[in-house]
């Protein structure tokens, strides 16, 4: 069942064409990962999906009553605004105190509830953002580079946590990520974006795709390169070694 889908979505901001003709769909319980170089329109595509950016052309179809839990890349909790972790969780709306405690426990920030958000470490902060998103009881969890600035063990732990909670809550996950190895291991579906959808499919399929390799190099999963990828479109902007 499709939770959310785009059809021919294009976004132009000023004179700049950010996205061209993007089609994608996310089903219930699926983990979909967006990969792509900087400036490839990943964040813009997320904004289109959560409704913060209106596409210039194309349409976004959402399942009626779809609830999105969004974990932004940054949160303007500056020192100017005092905010305890527990108040931050309550801001998610209507979850009961017991539920807030349960989720805080689940993502491992229960001992931090009385701390100021501004005093959390990078990993703790991301967990607090995740907890807020989970309290919305989302059908779809949207994460924009959630592991930015975390060290390796923290990254691994964070992805494990996401995988666990999405099973418990039965929600789909859409994330932007630069951690290619993790992506390839844990996603159901990978979308490789560079202004348009270069290629998409299962991790094995995508990592073998020449478009993907042109963007990220061959090193990622050598053994999978056996798969031959059929193109349905040309890539004139890539220095492609393979486009026919």
């Amino acid at each position: 069942m499709t939770l959310i889908a785009t059809q021919g979505v294009s976004v132009q901001i000023g004179a700049k064409q950010i996205l061209t003709n993007v089609d994608l769909s996310i089903g219930r319980g699926e983990i979909v990962t967006l990969v792509g170089p900087n400036g490839s329109g990943k964040t813009t595509l997320l904004k289109v999906l959560i409704g913060a950016q209106t596409p210039t052309r194309g349409a976004v179809m959402r399942e009626a009553g779809l609830r999105i839990g969004y974990v932004p890349q940054r949160l303007a909790i500056e020192r100017a605004m005092p905010m305890t972790v527990s108040r931050w969780l309550a801001l998610s709306g209507f979850a009961s105190t017991a539920e807030r405690k349960r989720i805080a426990e689940r993502v491992g920030i229960f001992p931090l509830l009385d701390q100021q958000m501004a005093n959390l470490s990078g990993g703790e902060f991301q967990r607090a953002l995740l907890a807020h998103a989970l309290l919305i009881q989302p059908d779809l969890l949207v994460l924009d580079e959630p592991t930015q600035g975390l060290d390796q063990p923290a990254v691994a732990a964070f992805y494990r946590l996401i995988d666990e909670v999405r099973r418990e809550q039965r929600c789909a996950v859409l994330m932007v990520s630069h951690d290619l190895h993790v992506v390839m291991r844990s996603s159901d579906h990978v979308i490789c974006l560079n202004g348009h959808v270069c290629c998409q499919g299962t991790p094995t399929l995508v990592s073998a795709a020449p478009e993907y390799q042109a963007l990220f190099g061959f090193g990622t999963e050598g053994a999978l390169a056996l798969y031959r990828h059929e193109h349905d479109h040309r890539h004139d902007h890539l220095e492609s070694q393979h486009d026919a």
Binding site: G14, K47, I50, G51, A52, I68, G69, Y70, P72, R74, L75, A76, I77, E78, A80, M81, P82, M83, T84, R87, L91, G93, Q116, I136, V142
Partner: protein, 264 residues
């Protein structure tokens, strides 16, 4: 009746202003709207001219001018200038325009300084009613939209993802600030309205652990400033509005210094 006493009316008017300015001022601080506050407040002088020229109430004229500047700012915030420059132009341009326009009012004698620095001791019963309605309006809207306003302030995309419209919330704050300007010009004057928004909120910051705590403390700080400021101005025979702001500034320095000693 007790309200006949000008000191009592001054005190009540100041208290009402403090109650509305505290929570609203927190948003001005959180969203870095200090300069925006200045731009709308300075437009108030032009609003006074409008009121006198067309013989409408000062409140209506000031509200109109403040909103006008806010809307012009929204329309002209293009890519050629930074927001900082735009606000600088608006704040000083509006003030200058106001001062020039007042001088054209030849058949009305205008006590300019009472609009620039306020005239809290001249607050009449009608003024008190206007201030009370304005403050109530501001508090009701803030209370009603509190969670949305906070979310939109923290992260617009996050607010949108939860089904809120971040632009509506931003517009609402602009409307509330314009209302506060129109209410406060009588009490602290156009030049110091932003001070009444920012300084109590800033003084409250070191004492608070949550946004709500900060808003409540900002009200307390504002109330202390108004009562101590009024008393001091009576003693020293100094202008009331500026004296209130001086007290607020002293409180700001005090809470800031205390929090340094406590720990960082």
């Amino acid at each position: 009746m007790m309200l006949d006493d000008f000191l009592v009316r001054a005190f009540l008017g100041g208290m009402l202003l403090a109650v509305a300015a505290g929570p609203l001022g927190c948003f001005v601080v959180w969203r870095r709207m200090a300069y925006f506050g200045d731009a709308t407040a300075h437009a108030a002088i032009f609003g006074v001219t409008l009121s006198l020229a067309f013989s409408i109430s000062i409140f209506a004229g000031v509200l109109f001018a403040a909103l006008g500047v806010a809307i012009l700012l929204a329309l002209f915030s293009g890519r050629l200038y930074t927001a900082d420059t735009m606000l600088g132009v608006a704040a000083h341009g509006a003030l200058a325009l106001g001062l020039v326009s007042v001088s054209f009012l030849t058949d009305v004698r205008v006590d300019l300084s009472s609009y620039l620095f306020g005239d809290i001791l001249a607050v009449g019963q009608k003024d008190l009613l206007v201030i009370a309605s304005g403050a109530t309006f501001i508090l009701l809207i803030l209370g009603w939209r509190w969670r949305r306003l906070l979310l939109a302030t923290l992260n617009e995309d996050l607010a949108v993802s939860e089904g809120l419209n971040a632009r509506t919330e931003a517009l609402l704050l602009v409307l509330l600030i314009a209302t506060l300007v129109a209410v406060a010009i009588k009490i602290v004057g156009a030049l110091l309205i932003t001070a009444m928004l920012i300084i109590p909120a800033a003084a409250a910051r070191p004492l608070a652990r949550t946004p709500e705590g900060m808003a409540a403390m900002a009200i307390v700080m504002g109330m202390i400033s108004v009562s101590a400021g009024l008393a001091a101005s009576f003693d020293w025979d100094s202008p009331a509005g500026p004296t209130i702001i001086v007290i607020a500034t002293v409180l700001f320095v005090a809470t800031g210094t205390l929090s340094r000693f406590k720990k960082t």
